[in-house]
Amino acid sequence: MPNSSLIRDLSRVVGRRWVLHEPEDLLVYEYDATIERGLPEAVVLPYNANQVSQVVRIARRHNAPVTARGAGTGLSGGAIPCDGGIVIVTSRMNRILEVDAGNRIAVVEPGVINQDITDAVAPHGLYFAPDPSSQKVCTIGGNVAENAGGPHCLRYGTTTNHVLGLEIVTPEGDLVWLGGKTADPPGYDLTGLVVGSEGTICIVTKVIVRLMDCPQSTVTLLAIFDEVDQASHAVSAIIGQGIVPAALEMMDRNTMRAVEEAVQAGYPPDAGAVLLIEVDGLEEETREQADSVRAVCEELGARELRIGFSAEDRERLWAGRKGALGALGRLAPSYYILDGVVPRSKLPAVLRGVYEACDSFGFQVANVFHAGDGNLHPNVMFDERVPGATQRVLDLGEVIMRLCVEAGGTITGEHGVGYEKRNYMSWIFSEDDLEVMAGVKLAFGATDLFNPGKIFPSSKGCGEVSSRMKAAIAKVGPDAYV
């Protein structure tokens, strides 16, 4: 049943039109791009930071948790309201407030689309570097929350490396600026703390992003290998040469077969893997690097190398990679994208383990991923409609995450922990570690107001916090929202 006084209070702030509470309205905010679900009690679409602050105050009064949502393209359940409550959607807060080309910064609202930042600053020869594959639809607010990455984060870093300052709404409902327009402000790096906090400690209402100069020259290479192992070794060898490519992507045989059917990228059907390597920088630099990359690949048994200098040629080489997800979508009714990280040197062994695990579960898998970062994305093909299939895919995901962790890696490279992987947190962090993290959250006064049920492990259902966390929360005193 909708909480009518909550709806009334929210409507007073943002207007009735922008408070959604009918069953059909709530239903479409129960999902994101994962297979998790959680139904909100109300959905609010504020117009500006001030309205967000008032919504947060109302939420506190009504003991309703608050989950921020951008475009709902996240891959860890970050925007799903596990405990119900209020979902704040940022789609109306989508203004680019300032572009300061001289100082290479822009100030944007959280609902701005990632790609729109680059489009807006392109006339100045600038761009926004983080490029998640959903960049045409995902929002900067979501990128900040999840510390999103993408193919080009190998050289340029993830979102956290491109955010200088944030305006946030605290759990008290206050508007506060963290960081600013200059790099490296004194004191604690609170901006860095908020980026990747998955909406659990505050709501971001403005973002100061760092812009980059478009590189003078870019060269793309496509190297085709007979075996995944060879390609995996080439990844380490390229980086071992002291080259940090802008991007270093790998696609395995299953991916290539699917891509070939969809976009005819010209991949040989018997090849084991391809590497897509992009180097950028000054003209002389990129030519030299491209030569080194070519030499390394040839030495490690690449059977064919294609190289693109012009924008059109490079686009052709990327076409297969960019169309990969789409092509996979046609192989099976559903696919489940995993996100794990392993040390580069362990890529060959872990990939073998991934194939074996999928085989033993009887699922087809296609790997297309950021090899340079050791950031794996096994895509497991399945049919949601087969009873029990979803659970078995989740079980398989757990096995694969274990493989990553046992190889010295970790449970997420760029998708975030969210709801989906919170129980794996205890594999890599001790109870003490987690308590310290909970303490950081509490230092913001956040307790369970913002995005409950995320990041922190729980042995029980959605939204339950561990007893130690509850104890930690209790220490904050009567003002705390629990």
């Binding site: 959604l20 059909e24 239903l27 479409v28 905010y29 679409l45 989508n94 639809v137 046609r330 409609r385």
Partner: protein, 420 residues
């Protein structure tokens, strides 16, 4: 009737189609109604989820739920960008057909009735066209579009000028080397509103070596009926067209209206369960070509004249997204000496016409049109070319609404000029 479980009828979207959507959200920014409203319920992903929820009886098809499905333009931009290949158009048409068959809102019934009993019936359509002609010729339109309270309400109403295209049978003999024999779809509104486009099409095809015929027993394509949930009528019209065109002994069926072409290319699906027509429908669908598609595949007769103009091209949704044709019209424009193509920012974004959408959802349609007119203005082009009568009428209304000079044409009209 009221006791039927939802979506249990013959047109219900299939489980297999619905389960293709993995709600990744990559469709969102391609959806005009989502970017206008910022609401998930007005997005392709949200609408698919609502359809699924109705099918699973998680929600009821209340008027507001139906309203979300109805606000969809069916521009199918989402379908073109969907990585999973969700057949959105087919799902939405199926859902609307089921809703129309079970306690539909009055407006839906009236719409279906009007499309079936007026638009799809040539004599009544001609009478209706006469009314629209009078509306304009009498100065009533001029008055209405200047009256403060009426202006917004009537600006998108269709108006008609110029002679009706009445010819049937053999329309033209090929000039020069004969390349084949093609049939032209006359359509419902096109011959009245844009008879000149048919004339240009016939001349351009003849110039390129085609004999052009118009089978006399052809019917309206049924696209508007299908989009609005009246699948039985759409199927009946499809059968008539299949008979009329297959009997004509032609190599191709040429269509200069993107919406009709898209629907006719899908006759195979529309009649898949009809034992008498399934095979013929498939064969027919394979013969359908958009006029730009057909011409761009040829070694085109080089135009001898020049068209000195800055031209911008508006991709009709059902050409770009449903038929996935974007290169052909641009190639034709590029072949015209003197013509400079100035692309607008988002040429494949819906102009808001969408069949009778502009009448059913005037506010959304006007919002989209205003955005489109801003993009067109930014190009500085004096000629706006497109390839669909709905888009032509909508952009003409946009020019009147924004008091801008400009000329709206079909691509083949420019080619025709260049041949003179």
């Amino acid at each position: 009737m009221a006791d039927n479980p939802p979506f249990s009828g013959p047109f219900a979207p299939s489980d297999a189609d619905l389960s293709r959507c993995v709600h990744c959200g990559l469709c969102l920014e391609s959806c005009p109604t989502y970017t206008e409203t910022g609401l998930e319920t007005e997005s392709p992903r949200g609408r698919l989820y609502l359809i699924k929820a109705i099918a699973e009886e998680r929600i009821e098809a209340t008027p507001t739920v139906v309203g979300h499905l109805d606000l969809c333009l069916q521009c199918r931009n989402c379908e073109a960008v969907c990585p999973s290949g969700v057949p959105y158009g087919r799902i939405m048409e199926g859902a609307r057909a089921e809703l129309l068959a079970n306690r539909p809102p009055l407006a839906w019934r009236l719409r279906a009735l009007f499309l079936r009993e007026v638009i799809a019936r040539p004599r009544r359509m001609a009478a209706f066209a006469t009314l629209l002609r009078l509306y304009r010729a009498s100065g009533l339109r001029w008055l209405a579009e200047r009256a403060p309270f009426l202006r917004e309400r009537v600006i998108l109403a269709p108006t008609i000028s110029g002679p009706t295209f009445r010819a049937r049978g053999v329309l033209a003999r090929p000039r020069g080397e004969a390349r084949g024999r093609v049939a032209l779809l006359i359509g419902c509104i096109m011959p009245h509103a844009y008879g000149r486009v048919h004339e240009a099409t016939v001349r351009v095809l003849a110039r390129n070596g085609f004999e052009v015929v118009a089978p006399p027993h052809q019917a309206c394509c049924g696209a508007l009926n299908a989009h609005n949930g009246d699948r039985p009528t759409a199927r009946a019209l499809a059968r008539r067209n299949i008979d009329a065109f297959l009997d004509a002994g032609v190599d191709a069926v040429v269509v200069n209206s993107a919406g009709c072409g898209s629907a006719m290319k899908e006759y195979g699906e529309l009649l898949a369960d009809d034992p008498d027509y399934a095979e013929k429908a498939k064969r027919f669908a394979g013969m359908v070509k958009d006029v730009t598609e057909l011409l761009a595949e040829l070694p085109l007769e080089a135009p001898t004249g020049r068209v000195e103009a800055d031209v911008t091209f508006q991709d009709p949704c059902h050409l770009a997204h449903a038929q996935r044709i974007t290169g052909a019209p641009r190639e034709l424009l590029a072949a015209i000496p003197g013509l400079r193509l100035v692309e607008m920012a988002q040429p494949d974004r819906c102009c808001g016409s969408a069949g009778i959408y502009s009448l059913a959802h005037r506010e959304m349609s006007l919002d989209l049109l205003d955005g489109k007119m801003r993009e067109i203005a930014a190009t500085g082009a004096e000629v706006i070319a497109t390839a669909n009568p709905g888009c032509m009428a909508q952009i003409e209304a946009g020019l009147r609404r924004h008091r801008r000079p400009g000329r709206v044409v079909h691509v083949v009209e420019l080619l025709d000029e260049a041949y003179r």
